[in-house]
């Protein structure tokens, strides 16, 4: 018999962890001599108080949805993919190549193929660590970390030496053609009579990200492959006994993971910057770790966590703009979320299990 009801495991523990992270964050804000309540108010009004704020919140959330899903899929196979950042960087390269060298007639066609290109490049970048883990037993955490650094070097080289337009000093590609410009939420919502800020970068990729959430849910819980991934993640030996190939699952889970991380580039490269620049990912690959941990690797949880981190990101930018609190506050909050929901999980779980056992005994 379980020590705890399932809802407590899925809802209560993340919630308590989140509250603990929030309390500590508040203490940090107090520590640097600012008012936490005023800070939260400013963040809420800046990130959720206008369609402009929402536009940014959803834009960031789109990034985190992709990288969060990427980390989640790998997590189900008990593979800790820290390489989302590198995979997303390479995904950006895929998007840039598709958008720069093919004259697309319409953005919708371009988006489909840019997504494919991004997924392909991201997956290819994840394939090497996956292969090395599956076949040669190298630790995927270390190899994906190394691949983040290698990706940064590759991108730097490509942007400086190969894709930089003639006469430009900036290590970046040329601007994409007007035809591949992705419609923003403003352009999508205006025809149906909803006013949305023109300046905000949220775009149609958000809908792609939502579709990806549904697709991942279907994959993990409604297909044989998903079952095999979860079975492998639960018990490698059990899966082996059931005839599931560890090599196959490791490869497939990491390819999907890398592909999802790569697809993030449709949002930031194609939807926002409309050209590939250095450091276009802005750490979203790492935030995916926090998002997946908080969302318990479930697509709906990832969705909620991505919105929360989108809010934190945009709120943090507003804080940095209007107060002397630097944007790095978000990094601290992110660290605390990872710490409490990921590493100190048992600290919350232990006492909670005891409470539930005591309650049950009281009833019996």
């Amino acid at each position: 018999m379980d020590k705890m009801p399932k809802w407590a495991d899925v809802v209560l523990i993340p919630l308590i962890s989140l509250v603990l992270a929030a309390i500590l964050s508040a203490l940090v804000i107090l520590g640097i001599g600012e008012d936490p309540i005023a800070a939260v108010k400013l963040m809420v009004s800046g990130a959720l108080g206008s369609t402009y704020g929402w536009g940014y919140t959803l834009y960031y959330a789109t990034n985190f949805l992709f990288t969060g899903l990427a980390v989640s899929v790998a997590f189900h196979a008990r593979l800790f993919n820290i390489g989302g950042e590198g995979q997303a960087m390479l995904g950006g390269l895929g998007v840039a190549l598709v958008c720069l060298y093919i004259p697309w007639p319409h953005w919708s066609l371009a988006l489909i193929f840019a997504s494919l290109g991004a997924a392909l490049f991201g997956a290819a970048w994840a394939a090497i660590p996956a292969y090395l883990q599956a076949k040669r037993g190298s630790h995927i955490v270390i190899t994906t970390i190394m691949f983040n650094f290698i990706a940064a070097a590759v991108l730097n080289y490509v942007l400086v030496n190969l894709l930089r337009p003639e006469g430009s000093m900036d290590p970046a590609t040329a601007r994409f053609a007007e035809a591949v410009h992705l419609p923003s939420l403003h352009e999508l919502l205006a025809p149906i009579g909803i006013e949305f800020s023109k300046a905000a970068p949220a775009n149609v990729s958000f809908l792609v990200a939502l579709a990806a959430c549904v697709a991942v849910w279907l994959l993990i819980w409604r297909t044989k492959l998903g079952y095999e991934i979860r079975a492998y993640g639960n018990s490698e030996y059990g899966a082996l006994y059931a005839g599931i190939s560890p090599v196959k699952i490791t490869m497939i889970a990491m390819l999907i993971s890398g592909g999802l991380a790569g697809m993030m580039a449709t949002n930031n490269v194609m939807g926002e910057a409309e050209r590939l620049v250095l450091n276009s990912t802005e750490g979203a690959g790492f935030i995916g770790i926090a998002v997946a941990l908080m969302g318990r690797s479930h697509p709906f949880g990832v969705f909620l966590a991505a919105i929360l981190f989108g809010f934190l990101y945009q709120g943090g930018a507003e804080l940095a703009l209007w107060t002397s609190i630097p944007r790095e506050l978000i990094v601290v909050i992110q660290a605390l979320v990872i710490l409490f929901t990921g590493a100190l999980d048992n600290m919350v779980r232990g006492p909670l299990e005891r409470i539930f056992l005591a309650l049950r005994r009281g009833k019996a």
């Binding site: 640097i32 037993g137 190298s138 691949f147 002397s324 978000i330 909050i333 990872i338 100190l344």
Partner: protein
């Protein structure tokens, strides 16, 4: 390349290898005891900030060093709490520590100094000055050996010599003392150590704390000796290169020295020569930057000798099993 250039490159190799070496030995203690630590980067960064901040405020670099070590020890304690006491995931804890350090350093720096997340520049007294070995000046003019002695061996800060002395010290502690034997055993087979009546938790905490101490010195070296003050994200991936060196060295102290010198050399060469031409072929600077990471991946894949980590590494020890 002429002789003097060679000496200068080797000199900067030593400088750049020092923080790697300290962090690498730090990881060595921790991982030999079975605690994976990808938070080396974060501990170094935190120590770099606090050492620079205290050295800037007090004008005393030794107080700075102590503050750096203390801050690194706090993060080590956190890692121990998460991965030993609460048996959490060591990798996730390490990731969290890296982010915590990256955020907190800038946050506190901005609050204390209002200089955009950096500390004020350090002046004499607030920095570790280069030590001049005896007769360095007098011997400088002797051909070949003179420059080697006066440029390469002399003229480093005390922390450099400390780092290099830490190599034999580590080798002795790990392989020559009872503590070291137990520490290695706890990374291979904690149940056996437990059965022998030695505290697994105590040993692992000890290892994690030694790790914190060495990371603290590494961070202080970065901010108060290699550079004059703390700037945002100044560790710049050194923690991960140290981790790479550790794998390269297959978790052995003397090999760690070799690996760190190699990676230090790569950094020194990349710094000095941007693109290296060999005949018609140009090695781009980005290739040099990525080389330590590529080497690590190759090593990990077992193509150049197999790197086998301590057996119980990454696994929390559960007594009642």
């Amino acid at each position: 390349m002429d002789f003097l250039t060679l000496i200068q490159v080797l000199d900067s190799t030593v400088r750049l290898a020092t923080p790697l070496l300290l962090a690498c030995l730090a990881g060595l203690f921790s991982e030999r005891a079975g605690i994976f630590d990808i938070g080396l980067e974060g501990k170094m960064l935190m120590a770099a900030f606090f050492s620079a901040a205290v050295a800037a405020t007090t004008g005393n670099v030794w107080l700075g060093l102590l503050a750096g070590i203390a801050s690194s020890l706090v993060l080590s304690g956190l890692h121990g709490l998460a991965s030993i006491t609460f048996r959490g995931n060591q990798l996730i804890s390490g990731v969290a520590i890296n982010f915590l350090a990256a955020g907190m350093t800038v946050l506190i720096a901005q609050d204390w100094f209002q200089q955009g997340g950096r500390t004020p520049s350090l002046f004499s007294g607030g920095r570790f000055e280069p030590l001049s070995l005896p007769f360095a000046d007098a011997l400088a003019d002797v051909p070949v050996l003179g420059p080697i002695y006066s440029e390469l061996l002399s003229g480093h800060s005390v922390l450099v010599y400390l780092a290099f002395l830490a190599v034999p010290a580590t080798a002795w502690i790990l392989f020559g003392t009872r503590f070291g034997l137990r520490l290695r055993a706890v990374g291979e087979n904690p149940a056996a150590v437990d059965t022998a009546g030695v505290s697994v938790v105590g040993l692992r905490y000890a290892a994690v704390m030694i790790c914190g101490l060495l990371c603290g010195i590494a961070g202080a070296y970065l901010a108060t000796a290699l550079q004059a003050g703390f700037v945002k994200d100044m560790t710049a991936g050194r923690g991960f290169i140290a981790l790479a060196a550790l794998i390269f060295a297959k978790w052995r102290p003397w090999h760690a020295l070799g690996a760190c010198l190699l990676f230090g050399l790569l950094q020194a060469v990349a710094l000095r020569f941007q693109n290296i031409e060999i005949g018609n072929f140009v090695i781009p600077v980005q290739m040099m930057d990525a080389l330590p990471y590529i080497l690590t991946v190759v090593i990990l894949a077992g193509f150049v000798g197999k790197a086998v980590p301590p057996k119980a590494g990454g696994e929390p020890y559960v007594k009642e099993r």
